[in-house]
C-alpha cells in the first residue's frame, strides 16, 4: 500500500482588485505517490479553499496552461510530481515577468502579442496556393529535422518567466517568439525570413539574447529556445554577408495522377466488367 505524505503547500495569494499586498497562504495536502503539484492545487481548491485561482486544462503537458513557479523554478504544475521535488514544503508562486490576474493565474497576452509580431506562419510568394491549397509542399526528413524540435512549443510562457533579459527589458521579444521565428525561418517550405527580420533584427530582438540558457533549462518540451535564437543569429548574419547555401523554398508535390499499373493484374483479382474492382 502506498504511503501518503503530508505536504505543506505555501501558495502566493494575490488579488489586484483587493489592493492588498501578495501573501503566502499555507495548506497541508495528503499526497499519495504519483500526485502532481496540479493535483495538490486541485485538492486545495476542492477541499480547503475554493477561492484559489488556478488555470489548467489538459493535465498532460500539452496545453501549457498551468505554468507556475514551483520551489523557485518555472514548471508546468501538471508535469511536476510532488515526489520528484523531494521536499516536505512546496512553494508555489505565479510566473514572474507577467502581470498577475489572480493568485497563480498570470496574463499571457504579452507572450501572444510578441509571438504574433514574428509572423509565425508560412510565407511564400504563391499567394493563390497559400489561400487555396491544392497539394503539399515537398520536404525531406533532413529538412524536417532542421526545425522539428522548435515546433514542439506549447506557448506556456515558462521560457519567458525564466529569461533574465525579459526580466529587465520589457521590450525584449523573448525566447518564445524568437524561437518560433526560427521555427518558420528554418523550415525549407517557408520563404518569409526577409519579412520577419525587421521585427527580430534589433537590439530588443535576437541581439538582446545573452545566451543565459535559462529558457532551454525551463522548457518542458525540449524545444531549446536558446539554440533556436543562436541559429536565428547565424541565419541573419549569413544572409547579411551573402554567405551560406542559398536555397529556394521547396516546390509543391505533383498532384496525384491516374496511372496504369506497372505489373499485370493477377488472375485471381476480382474483376468487374473486365476491370479490377
Amino acid at each position: 500500500m502506498d504511503t501518503v505524505k503530508q505536504i505543506r503547500f505555501r501558495i502566493q495569494r494575490y488579488n489586484p482588485e483587493d489592493g492588498a499586498a501578495p501573501r503566502l497562504a499555507e495548506f497541508v495536502v495528503p499526497a499519495p505517490r504519483g500526485m502532481t503539484v496540479l493535483d495538490g492545487l486541485f485538492y486545495i481548491r476542492d477541499n480547503l479553499d475554493s477561492t484559489l485561482a488556478v488555470r489548467s486544462s489538459c493535465r498532460m503537458a500539452i496545453c501549457g496552461s498551468c505554468a507556475m513557479l514551483i520551489n523557485d523554478f518555472p514548471h508546468l504544475a501538471c508535469h511536476t510530481q510532488i515526489a520528484e521535488l523531494e521536499a516536505d514544503t512546496i512553494e508555489v508562486r505565479p510566473l514572474p515577468n507577467f502581470t498577475i490576474i489572480k493568485d497563480l493565474v498570470v496574463d499571457l497576452t504579452p507572450l501572444f502579442e510578441k509571438h504574433t509580431t514574428t509572423k509565425p506562419y508560412f510565407i511564400r510568394s504563391e499567394v493563390e496556393e497559400m489561400e487555396n491549397p491544392t497539394a503539399e509542399f515537398l520536404q525531406t526528413p533532413e529538412d524536417l529535422d532542421a526545425y522539428l524540435q522548435f515546433s514542439y512549443c506549447i506557448k506556456c510562457g515558462l521560457c519567458m518567466a525564466a529569461c533574465p533579459t525579459v526580466a529587465t527589458d520589457r521590450l525584449f521579444l523573448g525566447p518564445q517568439a524568437l524561437a518560433q521565428c526560427y521555427r518558420y525561418c528554418g523550415d525549407s517550405r517557408d520563404d518569409g525570413a526577409n519579412e520577419r527580420f525587421p521585427t527580430v533584427d534589433r537590439e530588443h530582438g535576437m541581439w538582446g539574447c545573452h545566451l543565459a540558457g535559462a529558457c532551454s533549462e525551463a522548457c518542458p518540451k525540449g524545444v531549446d529556445p536558446a539554440l533556436a535564437i543562436q541559429l536565428l543569429k547565424r541565419l541573419r548574419v549569413s544572409r547579411a554577408l551573402g554567405l551560406g547555401r542559398k536555397r529556394r523554398p521547396t516546390p509543391l508535390a505533383s498532384p496525384p495522377t491516374a496511372r496504369q499499373p506497372k505489373l499485370p493484374v493477377p488472375e485471381f483479382t476480382v474483376k468487374v466488367n473486365g476491370k479490377p474492382s
Partner: protein, 120 residues
C-alpha cells in the same frame, strides 16, 4: 540590418582583441615566462621602455588599432546593457549619441597621446 552588422562587429573585435591582448600581455607582463623560453624583454613596464616602444611605428600602429577595437567592443557592450536596463527609443538615441561622443573623444585622445610620444 544595422544591428546585425553592429553585433557581428562586436563578435569580430572580440576575437581580434583576444590575439592583440595576448601580444600585449606577453610583452608587458609575462617577461619572466618569455625569459624562461630564452627570450629577453628588459623591464617592459619601465618608463624608458614605454617611451622606446612609443617611438616604434610598429607598436604605434598596434596600440592605435588595439585602442579602436577595445573602445568599440566595450562601448557597444555597455550600450546593450543600458538599453536592456532602461529600454526605450529615447534611451537608444541618447546612448548612441553618447557612444559616438565618448568613443571618438577617447580614440582621439589616445591617438593624440601616441602621436605626441612618437614625435617627441
Amino acid at each position: 540590418m544595422r544591428d546585425t552588422y553592429l553585433w557581428l562587429l562586436q563578435l569580430v573585435t572580440g576575437a581580434i582583441i583576444a590575439v592583440f591582448l595576448a601580444v600585449h600581455m606577453v610583452m608587458m607582463h609575462l617577461d619572466n615566462i618569455v625569459g624562461f623560453f630564452g627570450g629577453h624583454i628588459s623591464e617592459p613596464s619601465s618608463w624608458s621602455s614605454m617611451i622606446d616602444r612609443a617611438k616604434e611605428g610598429w607598436w604605434l600602429t598596434f596600440y592605435i588599432i588595439f585602442l579602436a577595437l577595445v573602445l568599440y567592443h566595450a562601448i557597444y557592450g555597455l550600450r546593450g546593457i543600458v538599453l536592456e536596463v532602461i529600454p526605450s527609443g529615447r534611451t537608444e538615441r541618447v546612448m548612441t549619441g553618447m557612444i559616438w561622443a565618448v568613443g571618438l573623444g577617447a580614440f582621439a585622445l589616445g591617438v593624440y597621446a601616441s602621436a605626441h610620444l612618437f614625435t617627441r
